[in-house]
Amino acid sequence: MHEMGIMNDVLITCENIAREAGKDRITHVALTIGEMTDIQDFALEFAFEALRDGTMAQDATLEMVFVEPRSRCNSCGKVYEHDRYTMLCPHCGSFEVTLLQGRELQIDTIEAEDEEDQA
């Protein structure tokens, strides 16, 4: 359910950035999302379709790249990929681990146009 709040912030930020760049229409939004955020692609897509009307992104497309969790073991130093649920080191069993990736929630790029582009 938090996908609505997240998408609301995505659209506000994208509009601000497009406006600063002198653009009036957003055609594409690309996001990176870590799997450990529990964001569901279908729910985010739904939120995008529901909220984009009346914004600069009303005809935009949405691209989502999901990032698998990866951690480094602070005991044995090994780096490993894991699922959302189990962080402990598969090599030595240590709980002392540092998450390297998997909690991303980032707007990567947007594609935008102004009137000249559309002409």
């Binding site: 962080m87 929630l105 707007i107 594609e111």
Partner: protein
Amino acid sequence: MTTIDVKTPILDLNEKLARENRARFDENGVFVVDLMASPGAGKTSTILATIDALRDDYRIAVIEGDIASNVDAQKIKEYGIPAVQINTGGACHLEANMIKRAIETLDLSELDLIILENVGNLVCPTEFDLGEHAKVMILSIPEGHDKPYKYPNIFQISEAVILNKYDTLPVFDFDEEAFEGQLATLNPKAPLFKMAATRGAGVEPWTEWLRSRIEEQRSAISCD
């Protein structure tokens, strides 16, 4: 068409406001805890038990997040503790801007501890920094021992876990060993506090943990 490189965290707006909230808390030496749980797990009862244990030593306020009503804030006020009710109007979690507005009504210089009672939900509150110093979650025995398997995120990001309604253990099919094993896998560092908040049983280890965090925050300001 132009491609604009954004590379901005999605929750940038929320995180900026959360940092501002935290800076205000730090300036005033207030320790802030965000309490998260399902509806009915005993958030308000835990808050009342916490107030009982700490009110003689610390100045406490509570910010209550609910979709509607001011039932919880009333309960806290009847206890003689300042309480601010936030109605999220359908939103399933608190956000930093709501806290920012709520603390405008409190005199932070007159407080040592603020307890934020998040909206009852095991999913959405995990993603939003409110400016708190610690997120703590409550699971209650009737909800079942399988919750860490189903909602791992909230167990991972909580600094401490309260297992409430512990007095009901004999009547529910709650596998304590399985629960503690899964919690250790997800979040080995988090202390686990077993209590029955409405009976005031087992509350002390939790309030002692909180007390040490409040003292840390107070000593940080007196060193400045």
